[in-house]
């Protein structure tokens, strides 16, 4: 219980500091949202009116705390940039709420691919006695790790989109309309994200297993008469997975927090693209919430990994 409280405290303090940092960054970078909205044809009267409407004529400290109190109360404010209808601006909650499922589905799908491929691959690799397979996998994972995901994305669009016509790039369908079509469209972006991470995870798992295999308990297990199968899956893999979970946690945090570049490559309207366009239009309320979301995800995933550790390995909570 004390542990949980401590974690929540850390979380709140981190979120607060990050939000202050983002706010200050917005004060420093040149250009403001009024210029962005009104463009080159702005008249001083309209500028002033808009500045007043958006409370930009108040001192920064006042504006920050005004925003903070509203957020704490659960009022995330409205976007400066995106309209909902003719006279209303889009509430941040609605805007992000609409984009989040895209990013989360993409993340879930790619994590699924990573786990489904890298763990069997890592085990196979660790158990393999074939030199050729070892060399092949070594080269393959090395290459996949070296290519950035966005480049794999571009290659995929050319190969599967234009040459083989397996999907049409840009023909994204909203999940509101056609969920199956939506998931189908996500497959290729998800693979693009997964490939480099699969290489990393498989390699990591293999190394971790090889270390475990040399341990004394493996010899003991064999001498007790355990089958190789039982030794591998019951003992080695279980122990070898411990560091892999930390590693996967890092990867998951990275993916859930925003597959910014991949969304850009595949024209996916997720939060990554929203973040980029909101920064360039100085849409402060949207940027702040997105940054808080990303911070939250990273901290939360690490926290979950911590808890998982305790569940899997009873030795830790004893310490």
């Amino acid at each position: 219980m004390r542990y949980l409280l401590k974690k929540i405290m850390t979380l709140s303090v981190t979120l607060f500091l990050v939000s202050v940092a983002a706010f200050i960054a917005f004060q420093i970078i040149p250009g403001d949202v009024v210029g962005s909205i009104l463009g080159t044809e702005a008249t001083p009267e309209r500028e002033e009116e808009l500045r007043h409407e958006l409370m930009l004529d108040r001192p920064p400290v006042e504006r920050y705390f005004h925003w903070l109190f509203n957020v704490v109360k659960g009022n995330l404010g409205v976007s400066y940039r995106y309209s909902k209808n003719m006279n209303e601006m889009m509430p941040v909650k609605e805007l992000i709420g609409d984009k989040l499922p895209v990013t989360l589905s993409l993340a879930a799908l790619s994590i699924l691919f990573i786990i489904a491929v890298s763990i069997p691959l890592g085990v196979l690799w660790a158990r393999s006695k074939s030199r050729a397979l070892d060399a092949a996998l070594s080269v393959l994972t090395q290459v996949s790790m070296a290519i950035p995901a966005f480049f794999i994305g571009i290659l995929m669009t050319y190969l599967f989109g234009i040459a083989l016509k397996l999907f049409s790039p840009g023909a994204y369908v909203s999940y509101h309309k056609d969920f199956k079509g939506f998931i189908t469209y996500l497959i290729f972006p998800a693979i693009s994200i997964a490939i480099p991470k699969i290489g990393m995870t498989a390699r990591f798992l293999r190394n971790s297993m090889l270390t475990e295999i040399k341990s004394d308990y493996v010899r003991t297990a064999y001498s007790k008469g355990c089958s190789e199968r039982r030794v591998m899956y019951g003992h080695v893999l279980k122990n070898a997975l411990m560091p892999v979970i930390t590693f996967l946690g890092m990867i998951i945090a990275e993916i859930v927090a925003g597959s910014i570049v991949i969304e850009q490559v595949f024209s996916l309207p997720g939060i990554g693209r929203l973040l980029i366009s909101s920064i360039s239009t100085r849409d402060f309320p949207v940027v702040e919430i997105l940054i808080l979301y990303i911070t939250f995800v990273v901290i939360f995933v690490y926290f979950t990994v911590d808890i998982l550790y305790r569940v899997i390995d009873p030795r830790i909570s004893g310490k």
């Binding site: 970078i29 040149p30 250009g31 403001d32 210029g35 962005s36 909205i37 009104l38 463009g39 080159t40 044809e41 702005a42 008249t43 001083p44 009267e45 309209r46 009116e49 976007s79 940039r81 995106y82 309209s83 209808n85 003719m86 006279n87 209303e88 889009m90 805007l95 609409d98 984009k99 669009t157 989109g161 234009i162 016509k165 049409s168 790039p169 840009g170 023909a171 994204y172 909203s174 969304e263 850009q264 490559v265 595949f266 024209s267 309207p269 693209r273 929203l274 366009s277 360039s280 239009t281 100085r282």
Partner: protein, 535 residues
Amino acid sequence: MKKRFLSFFLAVLTMTTLGACQGSTAPASQDKPDASPAPTMGTTTEVNSSIAETEPEPVYGGSMVVGIQQDIDSLDPHKATAAGTKEILFNIFEGLVKPDENGNLICAVASDYTVSDDGLVYTFTLRDGVKFHNGADVAAEDVKYSLERASGLLDGTPLISVLSAITDVTILDEKTVQVTLGAPNPELIYSFTVAIIPNGSGEDAEASPIGTGPFAFEAYTPQEGIVLKKNESYWQEGLPYLDEVKFKIVSSSDTALLELKTGSIDIYPYLTDSQAAELESVYKVQSAPSNVVQALFLNNAVEPLNDKKVRQAICYALDKDAINDFVSGGKGTIVSSAMLPTLTDFYEDLNSTYGTGANVEKAKKLLSEAGYADGFDLEIMIPSNYEFHMQTGEVVAEQLKEVGINATINPVEWNTWLSDCYTDRKYQASICGFTCDMTPGYLLNRFRRDSKKNFINFDSAEYDEVYASAQEANNMKDRTGYYIRLQEILTEEAGTAFIQIPPVTTAIGKDVYGYRFYPVYVQDMSTVFKGTRQN
């Protein structure tokens, strides 16, 4: 032969329909202080006739996807400022008058208008049978409300600054609205293209955009796009053809190219020259002059650009023909002042002043006269999101090096450009383009000394005087003389190095017909239809 006949028939048909509508404005123009007809903005006819050549009979129904580069900045037609938004809203909203593809004003919500002899009172007669998308008839109250809202009579803040000239809007009877101005301004008629919206809808928080245009608003999703559906009771008989139009936001020009190649976009209007070449086999690729004036803007207030000779040297140093070939594929129109050549009545060709090629010797001579025989460093600030201006910048920098000016490019983000360069004027030189509307004096206004938009710090007392005289002139004929003089002053003083009117190059699906280029920046979908693919 049959095809020929058909295209001839279509051409005649278009002429008669246009004629009919202009016919209704003809008596009005006689009452105007100046009897000359509304200025014609030049000619995309060449392009259009080439479309007509292969155009089959219009087909009703179907939907179309148009690729757009920017997100919508506002769904309120009076508040939208981005050209990329206005080009879409053109399909939803209409004004009392609206532009046609030849740059004439045609009547829309109004069927007729007259202007009093002193130029102060405009009287609009509303067209019968114009309905809003919600089914209500357009009434005089709606027109009054729309004009008062846009001009600031409603709450004191004009949403469209030029309309603040309106001092009063009176309903004479249920079909007639009278608008009074504080001072005569024959160019104001171009601003009556302002959207007519239902009475009170601007204050109704929940209101969805409702206009009288050929398409009605259906849905908008940030970052994805906007969907329009057919207006079944549009006042122009027989239009539009399509049931649905989707304006789809593409995330970058590279993804746009991919989407074009796989056919998920039917029309895409912002191709670069190299993209156009790549798509020529799968799309109809067509160009027309844009309404953008591109220039190497020079800050007249900083050393050494405050010296007229240095600015002239830069004008001589530029090889505009080479720039046009390199970035516009030779399809740009070279200009030397701030007026669109398509505004034929007002435009003066001043290209002979500095020539369209480079004159290195003359430039070097002027530089040494000014005391910069060894050249100087010049930083060109360019908004990096405009690939076209960035490419131009690279060519310009090389050309300036020929005369000893060490030019470097400083790419900045759009918002940074707006605040540092445009608002604070903290820059030496910049390459950018300005979009013009149909008002002839639109671009000239910004070079007055006390104009807030005079970001080049152009400083000419004569210019201000001539501009003031132009504004006092109550007919377009007299204004024309002044406007030509303004262009001359701007060129003689080398206020800025004007480059070209870039082309708009559009990819149009092979099964898409009826797409029209406008001299202003709009995507008119009302005449577009999908036929059978002809290869």
